[in-house]
């Protein structure tokens, strides 16, 4: 018999931990499924036992994650680590890969707290060994306590890039250069959003403190960088770029790039939930109401997977989704839900006030997509280049799904996670039409690859229709 849970929460980042703990405290029978072995998600990875000798390296905010994890552990919610979700059906069945074994569970309600992923941005040489995302570098730092060797080059835009630079410095890593690819015009465009952002003075102050820390350490920061290229035969040997109208070159064995984060939308998309193109955050996000309810019956979204808001906003959104789940499942009435939600909603609103400013300030340059060189690979799995995509559009291909048929773009193991956002933008730019009209890949299960023998071992129990 397939196990049935009152509430299933997917993801153990701030949104998922807060949602599960809040719901369990309200008396719901909650199961939280997460593909990682320990709570924390990406932002609070390894928060319960960081192997670094001095946790101060990771900063104060990290401790908030430890508190969240502790509250979750104490809440009575059932915790299923190393348990990835590879299938979601409209009937609220979840296909799980639980420590390597495939099984199904069903749930009365589901809160998807799948979080964010780093925005993949193709550039010449980005597939060379020695080129990683800053987040991958951070995972090494957090989970293995590993720090890269001498001469790391950091490039891109976004707050995480600054945070990572500061964390590396505290851990004694040498940074050869920080290549700031934030378009200089962003600051002026962001200015109208500054007054609202000032109410979240703490967030801005932290950002400025990071900048000061990086500056004090004597890191070479290059502003206005464009035309980033990774050079090398079998692996990265040098980083080339333009700055101040001049061609520059730095020898390096490790380039960490970061262009902000975007919602991981394959999970929500697989349910047929409608997604909007967020023209400020330059990403897709699922359409949801103020409680996170989506168009798929019984499915809510919370946290960065519903639109980028950061760790604190994710935590608040998780609590709101849990209150709504408790109402929908009859534990509390609407009045009690609203009473409990009021302070959370106020905190969330305050936290979100800083977003428009940050979103515009760190918005990646449109040229990263529009000026993509024809020979640059966009789909890493199937090795489809920007030129091939433009050629398919020239032959009458009007959208990402047709593009699959034309070129196999997006049909590899990553299920289009790495190229999907780029492809929608690139087709839109080539056709001169809004991304919203271009649409995105249809997502085919499994959401993550599943072993043939794991699938074969699924017994006939449970309703397994997707």
């Amino acid at each position: 018999m397939t196990a049935r849970h009152e509430l299933a929460v997917i993801g153990a980042g701030p949104a998922g931990l807060a949602a599960a703990a809040t719901a369990a405290e309200l008396g719901l029978k909650v199961a939280l499924f997460d593909d990682q072995p320990a709570p924390g998600g990406q932002i609070y990875r390894g928060v319960e036992r960081t192997p670094l000798a001095d946790p101060a390296v990771l900063g104060d905010d990290y401790r908030r994650g430890a508190d969240l994890a502790e509250a979750f552990r104490a809440s009575g919610a059932a915790y299923h680590p190393s348990c990835g979700v590879w299938l979601l059906t409209p009937e609220r069945e979840l296909g799980l890969l639980d420590n390597g074994q495939a099984r199904f569970v069903t749930a009365g309600r589901v809160i998807i707290a799948g979080g964010a992923m780093e925005r993949p941005v193709p550039f010449p040489g980005w597939t060379l060994p020695g080129v990683m995302t800053a987040g991958a570098g951070q995972i090494l730092l957090k989970s293995a306590g590993m720090v890269p060797g001498k001469g790391v080059v950091l490039a891109g835009t976004g707050p995480l890039l600054l945070l990572l630079a500061a964390q590396y410095l505290r851990a004694g890593v040498q940074i050869a250069a920080l290549l700031d690819m934030t378009p200089p015009s962003n600051a002026l465009r962001a200015l109208p959003h500054l007054p609202a952002a000032l109410s979240a003075f703490g967030t801005l102050a932290k950002g400025l403190a990071l900048k000061r820390e990086i500056h004090r350490a004597g890191v070479r920061v290059v502003k206005g960088v464009t035309s980033l290229r990774a050079l090398g035969e079998a692996r990265l040997e040098a980083v080339a770029y333009e700055a101040g109208g001049r061609e520059q070159r730095l020898d390096s064995e490790l380039l960490l790039v970061h262009f902000g984060v975007i919602p991981e939308s394959n999970t929500t998309r697989s349910l047929g939930i409608r997604h909007l193109w967020d023209s400020r955050q330059l990403c897709w996000r699922p359409v949801a109401d103020a409680w996170g309810n989506t168009g798929a019956e019984g499915f809510a979204v919370a946290g960065d997977g519903a639109g980028i808001g950061g760790a604190l906003a994710a935590e608040y959104a998780g609590r709101l989704a849990a209150l709504e789940a408790a109402r929908a499942l009859g534990r509390i009435d609407a009045a009690e839900r609203d009473r409990s939600a009021a302070p959370v909603r106020a905190a969330l609103a305050k936290e979100r006030r800083v977003r428009p400013f940050l979103d515009v300030l760190f918005q990646p340059a449109p040229e990263l997509i529009s000026q993509l060189a024809d020979d640059t690979v966009v789909c890493r799995c199937e090795e489809v280049t920007a030129g091939q995509i433009r050629e398919a559009v020239g032959q009458g291909c009007t959208g990402p799904n047709q593009l699959k048929s034309f070129t196999r773009c997006g049909m590899g193991p990553c299920q289009g996670r790495q190229c999907g956002t780029t492809v929608s933008q690139l087709i839109g730019h080539t056709l001169g039409r809004p991304v919203e009209e271009i649409g995105a890949y249809r997502i085919r299960p499994p959401l993550k690859p599943i072993g043939l023998t794991q699938l074969a071992a699924l017994d006939g129990e449970g309703e397994a229709a997707a």
Binding site: G412, P449, G451, L452, A456, A466
Partner: protein
């Protein structure tokens, strides 16, 4: 614009019919509700198979095969066709006896393409196969092709000969008036003396509206594809006692099908997957191909396809008003027939007859007592 024919449906059969009509200098319009090749034609398993067809289909399949061997001459593109061979394997002597009986039947009809083989030849052809298998039935000059590439090649060739394609246009109704067939669409009316129904999983509606209802359902054959593996398999493999269609593509991925059906919603144009059935498919593969036990499945999908009650397509004129021709309901094994069916349709339109025996595919065959039983091997593309 003056039209000689309106083709409803931009799948392989519609594109092939339009191409053949254009080769005969007829002015054609193809009306497609989605995009060309969006459904079964673009997402099927790509089997180019004469092996183990219903006897009624063998003459058409053999004629189509001649066209596949020279497909680039017809459409200017190789369609990804590979002369890989097709094999149906037996796991025990009982299954092998059935295959040998089948080979005798095909030979008695005058065809040589199906050849029974014993274990030695079987393992020479399919070294990765589990050693419990005992023999098989081989069609050495069958193969597979790339479905979407093929459909697009037929479309592009037809377009180069002047065929117009109207995509994103839905036919709402058809009627005959003053010697013309009128196709009423959400983008206006189109008239021509000839109407060709190649609407696949939606073909039954046009047939019924013109007085020729057919017992018909829409099905969704499911497929899965693995991550890339080193090359280990050349032919397409089916199995006598199991639902299986198994092939390795040039890029190393393995495509697994075989006629497990998911959920089909023809009206919405969507499918859903049944993972219990796919788990059974995975068990079949793991038993027959030990090398696959380390493989991972990266994508599963299903396509919408029309299935006629006796598992055979409808090919031929309507029984009522003149000028309407049907070619739909290919019941999960129409891809290989595509090149020949276009020729049949064009012959019917221009000459009123076909050189190939299409009597078994008459649209009114269900008006009489059923003359055929569903063919058990349906579903390997």
């Amino acid at each position: 614009m003056n039209l000689d024919a309106v083709v409803v449906g931009g799948g392989l059969h519609g594109c092939s019919a339009a191409l053949q009509l254009a080769l005969r200098k007829l002015r054609c319009l193809v009306i497609e509700k989605d995009t060309v090749g969006r459904h079964a034609s673009g997402v099927n398993a790509g089997g180019v198979r004469r092996l183990d067809r219903d006897p009624a289909e063998i003459p058409l399949s053999v004629a189509a095969m001649e066209m596949w061997w020279a497909i680039a001459e017809l459409v200017g593109d190789d369609c990804g066709f590979r002369l890989s061979g097709q094999i149906k394997i037996a796991q025990n002597e009982t299954e092998l006896a059935v295959l040998e009986e089948r080979a005798r039947l095909v030979r008695s009809l005058g065809y040589e393409h199906e050849e029974p083989v014993g274990a030695n030849e079987l393992f020479r052809l399919v070294p990765a196969l589990s050693r419990h298998c005992v023999g098989g039935l081989v069609a050495r000059e069958d193969g597979f092709a790339q479905p979407y590439q093929t459909t697009k090649a037929f479309r592009d060739k037809a377009a180069s000969l002047g065929v117009r394609f109207l995509e994103g246009t839905r036919v709402l109704g058809v009627e005959r008036k003053a010697g013309d067939w009128i196709a009423e669409t959400d983008r206006g009316r189109f008239a021509a003396p000839v109407l060709v129904n190649c609407a696949g999983g939606w073909g039954d509606a046009i047939a019924a509206a013109t007085g020729d209802p057919v017992p018909f359902e829409v099905v969704a054959p499911m497929m899965m594809v693995s991550a890339r593996l080193p090359p280990f398999l050349t032919p397409v493999v089916g199995a006598a006692g199991r639902k299986l269609s198994f092939k390795q593509m040039d890029n190393g991925t393995v495509v697994i099908g075989g006629g497990h059906f998911g959920g089909a919603d023809a009206e919405a144009g969507t499918t859903s997957l049944d993972f219990r059935a796919l788990a059974e498919s995975a068990r079949t593969v793991a038993e027959l191909f030990p090398i696959m036990r380390g493989a991972s499945i990266v994508r599963c999908w299903a396509g919408l396809e029309g299935f006629v009650a006796d598992g055979l397509p409808v090919i031929g004129p309507g029984t009522g008003e003149p000028g309407i021709y049907h070619a739909f309901g290919f019941s999960t094994h129409g891809f290989q027939l595509g090149p020949a069916v276009g020729r049949i349709v064009a012959d019917l339109v221009t000459r009123g007859e076909s050189d190939l025996p299409i009597e078994p595919f008459r649209i009114d065959r269900f008006a009489k007592p059923p003359s055929a039983v569903p063919h058990p091997s349906a579903g390997s593309g």
